[in-house]
């Protein structure tokens, strides 16, 4: 398989920051050199260090990493917006780049004039732009405003139009940098669909995004960049998990360095921990998670419902453990006590998870403890889990399942059986 994109020992150093330089800075430098006085050299910003990887034709790779890891720099070099300090990038095929689309539109020109101008800048010929004009406008949902100056567009409309123009480029190699983060949920879904279409047409895609759900959906493989170096290259679940692990370690270290873990409201004060079988706040996939809530109640005899949820940082829970929903009786609180909720065989994959919780008054109105994050725990894994049964982002659970397959042979045999039974 020929490589569509290949990075070969690419290093990119910036001299200092991207600050304005005045003539006096350079002159001062020259004077300094002449007079022998050494100014402390500004340490270079190492955006990329010896980055090498290859992306075969027709495949879609994601570039993952924290902010400042060098992802955008790599993409910029591949689309010839900037050049490497050493090393070489080779791209085979016509290149189209969606890098922070939308803000290249000129505010004084109308939408129509901008489509024409931008289409040409991005590489579509005059004929191509004309042929796709209606498609572009329709995709961006700006038909009504297309002849008005762009400065009258809302920012959402501008972004959508910019993305739409670029999304109809149909190049051989597509470099996408955070371009899917535009528009509302409906438009984002449309954009993902469009990207999938382009994928199905055999294009090569290198995709940079912080939207790890979209990444997992669009790219079966990934490359993890950390501080300008390639840490891992492989199947996307592995790459995402390694990346998330690094993210979580940083977060967990900050957390364990002593954050406030006591929560109180009304007469109640609680402290919650998520514990594995050995009492530490980490456990393995499949082991029992014990959510332990130690409480102190100034009015013994109060009755309350406990309600816990586990999430990996997304906006909703992965699962809930709730007395209210499950129809349990409220608990009668003593002056001091411990409420535990045991989750046997926790199906979660290695990550740091948050435990959120709430303690409700018996009558169902109001809370002692409002719904909020109470603590964190970590899931570790000793061995690799096969990648067929889970997703790293969307539902990071290992769900065992069994497929059964009814084929013609089975149906024919069954039909024969039925007919045998029917006919006397």
């Amino acid at each position: 398989m020929t490589a569509a994109i290949s990075f070969d020992g690419v290093t990119k150093h910036y001299r200092g920051t991207r600050e304005y330089r005045a003539l006096r800075d350079d002159l001062a430098g020259v004077v300094g050199r002449i007079s022998g006085k050494k100014r402390s050299p500004r340490s270079p910003v190492r955006a990329l260090e010896e980055v090498s990887f290859e992306i075969p034709e027709g495949q879609s790779f994601a570039l993952i990493g924290a902010n400042g890891a060098g992802k955008t720099t790599a993409l910029r070099i591949a689309s010839r917006i900037t050049y490497p300090t050493t090393g070489r990038v080779r791209v085979r095929g016509r290149v189209g780049a969606l890098i922070e689309v939308g803000t290249g539109l000129h505010p004084e020109l109308s939408g129509r004039e901008n489509v024409r101008l931008h289409g040409r800048i991005l590489g579509l010929s005059r004929r191509d732009v004309q042929a796709r004009f209606d498609q572009i406008v329709e995709f961006a949902e700006v038909q009504a405003a297309i002849d008005r100056p762009v400065k009258q567009f809302s920012s959402g409309m501008q972004l959508r139009l910019g993305f739409s123009i670029a999304a109809h480029l149909e190049p051989d190699v597509l470099l996408v940098d955070e371009a899917l983060a535009v528009g509302d949920a409906g438009f984002q879904a449309k954009s993902v669909t469009r990207m999938l279409e382009l994928l199905r047409e055999g294009r090569t895609i290198l995709f940079v995004s912080h939207n790890l759900y979209a990444v997992e959906m669009l790219c079966p493989q990934g490359i993890y960049l950390r501080k300008g170096q390639v840490v891992l290259e492989g199947p996307i679940q592995q790459v995402l998990r390694t990346y998330l692990d690094d993210v979580d370690s940083a977060v967990l270290n900050a957390h364990e360095r002593g954050s406030d873990s006591v929560f109180s409201g009304g007469p109640l004060a609680i402290e919650v921990r998520g514990e594995g079988p050995d009492g530490r706040s980490s456990l393995r996939t499949g082991e029992t998670l014990t959510i332990r809530c130690d409480y102190e109640c100034l009015q013994p005899g109060l009755r309350a419902f406990f309600h816990f949820g586990v999430t990996d940082g997304r906006a909703g829970n992965i699962f809930l453990a709730s007395q209210v929903v499950d129809g349990d009786e409220p608990l009668e609180l003593a002056r001091r006590g411990t409420v535990t909720c045991a989750v046997p065989a926790l199906p979660l994959l290695p990550r740091v998870y948050e435990i959120w919780g709430e303690v409700r008054v018996e009558s169902g109105w109001g809370n002692f403890i409002d719904w909020q994050q109470l603590t964190r725990f970590r899931v570790e894994s000793a061995e690799e889990i096969s990648s067929v049964s889970h997703s790293a982002m969307d539902a990071p659970v290992v769900v065992p399942f069994v497929f059964s397959h009814r084929n013609d042979a089975t149906q024919i045999a069954e039909a024969r059986q039925v007919s045998e039974e029917v006919t006397p």
């Binding site: 020929t2 991207r18 304005y20 330089r21 005045a22 003539l23 350079d26 034709e57 027709g58 910029r76 070099i77 689309s79 010839r80 917006i81 900037t82 050049y83 490497p84 050493t86 090393g87 070489r88 990038v89 080779r90 791209v91 085979r92 095929g93 016509r94 290149v95 780049a97 689309v101 803000t103 000129h106 004084e108 020109l109 004039e113 024409r116 040409r120 800048i121 991005l122 010929s125 005059r126 051989d172 994928l199 199905r200 047409e201 055999g202 997992e216 959906m217 079966p220 829970n317 992965i318 699962f319 809930l320 929903v325 719904w371 889970h390 997703s391 969307d394 539902a395 769900v399 399942f401």
Partner: protein, 311 residues
């Protein structure tokens, strides 16, 4: 808060979605085009420079150059109330003020012709030159957003500014012709030499604009230095006085080194005196401008590599 039931449904859907995604990635793809058909692009470090590839690439992007020039003209005239009229008013107003203060009060010599017309020859050229040069110098900084996002040969931006400036030049020249007729100066055979004069001005503006635009990205000082330099240039060029004022020994060399000198003098010879422009001086200036263009283009290409990092 989602109920547990909803979450269970979501989980099952997501698992299915995960499988669907896996299926898509292994679906048979349309066969990629033959390897030999595809262009190969190498992006490497090292200094940039003029090369045949660079020129070929510029030619390939000529439509983008045209589109940018059109955009500049469109935007400029969408906003302005007078529109194209401004291209006419500017040189006339300048010539008028010079005629009053320099022609009448200071009594500057004007080669025997009415001072207004004399000055108009100068202001028409100077307005085009200073306007295009300033606009070209700022072109890269103005469109810095594009420079960070899309690839195209960067010289397209200052060149588009120079090209767009010609749209102003045309009505200004027309005004000059009308004024000449009004004063009784009839076009003669020598008017055929006008393109030579124009070529000198446009080439000089191109060289000036290209070089400055590149430097402006690296040193923002250019933005402040330029108006001052243009002020000096206005008096260093024979806009308000005649080339004949320059001492005879250095006159020709001066006219070549400051091509606007050759151009303005040439224009005056054509319009006011029905003479051909000074041959050696004009072609010398033309050659000098061509050399300047090559030099500033080489400088530009050298600087180009660092634009996206600096801007």
């Amino acid at each position: 808060m989602r109920s547990q039931q909803a979450r269970e449904d979501a989980v099952s859907v997501d698992v299915a979605g995960g499988e669907a995604a896996a299926r898509i990635s292994t679906a048979p793809r349309s066969a990629p085009a033959e390897v030999s058909e595809k262009p190969i692009l190498d992006v490497e470090g090292g200094p940039g420079g003029i090369s045949r590839d660079a020129l070929r690439e510029l030619w390939a992007f000529r439509e983008v150059l045209w589109a940018f020039a059109v955009r500049q003209v469109t935007v400029k005239y969408k906003q302005a109330a007078i529109g194209v009229g401004w291209a006419v008013v500017q040189p006339i107003a300048a010539a008028g003020i010079f005629a009053l203060f320099l022609g009448r009060f200071a009594n500057v010599a004007s080669e025997g012709a009415p001072y207004l017309l004399f000055a108009l020859c100068g202001t028409v050229i100077w307005t085009y030159f200073s306007g295009s040069a300033a606009s070209a110098a700022e072109s890269l900084v103005t469109d810095s957003a594009l420079l960070r996002k899309v690839f195209f040969p960067r010289e397209v931006l200052p060149l588009a500014a120079i090209l767009a400036g010609l749209v102003d030049f045309a009505p200004a020249l027309a005004t000059l012709i009308v004024a000449a007729l009004l004063y009784g100066f009839v076009p003669g055979l020598t008017w055929l030499a006008l393109p030579l004069v124009l070529a000198i001005v446009v080439l000089f503006a191109t060289a000036f604009g290209l070089g400055l635009s590149g430097l402006n990205v690296y040193y923002r000082d250019v933005r402040y230095v330029l108006p001052f330099v243009l002020q000096l240039g206005l008096f260093a060029s024979p806009v308000v006085y005649s080339l004949a004022s320059v001492p005879a020994g250095s006159r020709d060399l001066y006219a070549v080194l400051n091509p606007l000198g050759a151009a303005i003098d040439g224009l005056r010879r054509i319009v006011l005196h029905n003479e051909w422009p000074h041959l050696w001086v004009s072609f010398g200036a033309l050659g000098w401008c061509a050399a300047l263009v090559v030099g500033s283009y080489a400088l530009f290409k050298r600087l180009e590599r660092g634009f996206a990092d600096r801007i």
